[in-house]
Symmetry: C2
Subunit: 327 residues, 2 copies
DNA sequence: ATATTATGTGTAACCGGTTACACATTATGG
DNA sequence: CCATAATGTGTAACCGGTTACACATAATAT
């Protein structure tokens, strides 16, 4: 392996000059620069990032902490983060936290020892102590913590409103809202948006808590529909819930969208594979991940960040589980 | 940050002794050991892995190279790799290659500079030159390269046989096999297994190439079914293809499983969300990832590896797209 | 013409570990 | 009882970068 000293010798300068040239700081004469450049090329020199990390106490690693990559919402997020990290020369470490504070803490400790440059975190634990005295750049993704941490989220409130309104516009009179877990801020915002739409319209509605889990959702909805035959529109807080609802409708022999319309939330690719294909409030998941990564890297590199709150617009994707709008 | 020198001073020994104690090699007296242990605890010393890497030219990073985490087969694999890596003290770097040799090469170069401990690779490029002179532990996952590289794959041939046989057992007489991309070894093995089943049974069948892509599969199958009304059983090489086939059947008003039975391959969770739920040859995806990680770590740690070829059994998961077996 | 500032460069210490080697002591063998 | 092997420990070099500091020279100011 060629080292900076080999390059220095070949170029006839000192290691300090080589280092200065490589990092573009300090003074380097034109002559020295060309000599070093030539030597670097000739020797095929590549900088050893481990050695650099040891002195600078920095690395080009970024940690992506998310609950579970297996949850269909996260792969696309991870993909986006990785894509932009790559273009900026960063490497992504994947951390499945299961929302477990112990696991998160463990990851953070381990990675701090590697001089990790920063974290992108999707976790409800973000206000936990192990983040408080973490003196490292952090971006909150899909979760709002406080105004001091840069945040990237969908416009969930608006999405909640849009989904509810879309159901009403399409003639649903008795809505069921599948509300997500209470500890999950984004789900609450969707609920708020839903509520706002309800205030503007004279329809009856009911809200039921439901985990983001297919089989559970299926069970809950099937029971609910069995007891409440008048429901003609379901707005789910996630596509997985919506898939469960659709399944429940099939189980009960309800025609979708004729008897019952369903709208999901997320826009994951599974939605289009269902029959009928799922109408949904689609988040721009890739964009969320991409922006999160870019904001984190800006922080890492000491650039000013314009917006601490990045709210990504959502949009209604109309597919088969809803009827044409009543105009 | 407390260093090994602080510990040495506190324990009244030399840094060499501390290092020996920490790494459990060389001679360390009982006395010295207890003194060091006490000092470590008192000072809350934690070893700096970056510094260690610099001298040892080793790290506890492992690279997971896969085509695209967005493909529903991979998240579970990644999850498994990460889980076992974590328990053995390794950290996973996620690399989406898009099967692009340039990207793979780039990752490999970057990570080698970080003294990465090894790679788990899911790629058709594995016989490419950048892997050939990679003097690092590697495990091939879901792809067979050669008998010198430890490999973890499903028993695809057997799965191909089982799926075809299951269709025949349930009364299908005219089969359509959706064959996966030719450059993809596992898909070919499934095809071979399918062929073996065909030899044992007197049914007619046809094979059509089809990418692992929902919308494409839907289009191809819809066209095919339109032209060949007698098809009463489809065996797809992946669940995503199968979902497309199911959609096509719906589009054409075919009753599944009454008129047309469908079996997929993979066992991803999306399958159970479909209506009817997808019968499939399920791979034990988690197990594949877990074994790959364990085999890699064994290699890294210089332990003997018993099996270079780990073939994970698949199993038939009967759900709604097939009828009860004809007995 | 001299003081000051900007530019350019090299030496050597440092980051925090590992380990070769030299040396000392104790145990074992013949 | 002495040769040899096993056990135990410390010093200092090394891994491959970065950078404080000292020093030299060229440019600009006064």
């Amino acid at each position: 392996m060629t080292t900076i000293r080999d390059v220095a010798k070949k170029a006839g300068v000192s290691v300090a000059t080589v280092s200065r040239f490589l990092n573009g700081n300090g003074y380097v004469s034109q002559e020295a620069a060309t000599a070093v450049k030539a030597a670097v090329e000739e020797l095929n020199y590549e900088l050893n990032t481990v050695a650099r990390s040891l002195t600078t106490k920095k690395s080009n690693l970024i940690g992506l902490i998310l609950p579970d990559i297996t949850n269909p919402f996260f792969p696309e997020l991870a993909r986006a983060v990785e894509d932009v990290a790559l273009t900026y020369g960063y490497t992504v470490v994947l951390c499945n936290s299961d929302e477990d504070p112990k696991k998160e803490k463990n990851y953070i400790e381990t990675l701090k020892k590697k001089y990790i440059a920063g974290f992108i975190v999707t976790s409800n634990q973000l206000d936990a102590p192990h983040y408080a005295n973490l003196k490292l750049p952090v971006v909150a993704l899909d979760r709002v913590i406080n105004e001091r941490i840069p945040t990237v989220v969908s416009n969930n409130r608006q999405g909640g409103f849009m989904g509810a309104q879309a159901l009403v516009d399409r003639g649903s009179k008795n809505l069921l809202f599948l509300r997500g877990p209470e500890e999950f801020g984004s789900a609450n915002d969707r609920y708020i948006g839903f509520g706002e739409a309800m205030e503007k319209n004279s329809v009856t509605y009911e809200t039921v808590f439901c985990p983001f889990h297919f089989a559970e959702a299926e069970k809950i909805v099937e029971q609910y529909l069995h007891d409440n035959k008048d429901i003609d529109g379901i707005f789910a807080s996630s596509d997985v819930q919506a898939a469960g609802a659709l399944k429940a409708a099939h189980n009960l022999g309800l025609a979708v969208p004729k008897d019952l319309q369903i709208i999901g939330f997320d826009g994951i690719s599974m939605g289009e594979m269902l029959t009928p294909a799922l109408t949904t409030i689609a988040q721009d998941i890739y964009k969320m991940g991409a922006i999160a990564a870019r904001v984190l890297i800006k922080q890492i590199e000491g650039q000013p960040i314009e917006n601490f709150m990045n709210e990504i617009p959502v949009n209604l994707v109309v597919r088969g589980t809803t009827k044409g709008a009543v105009t």
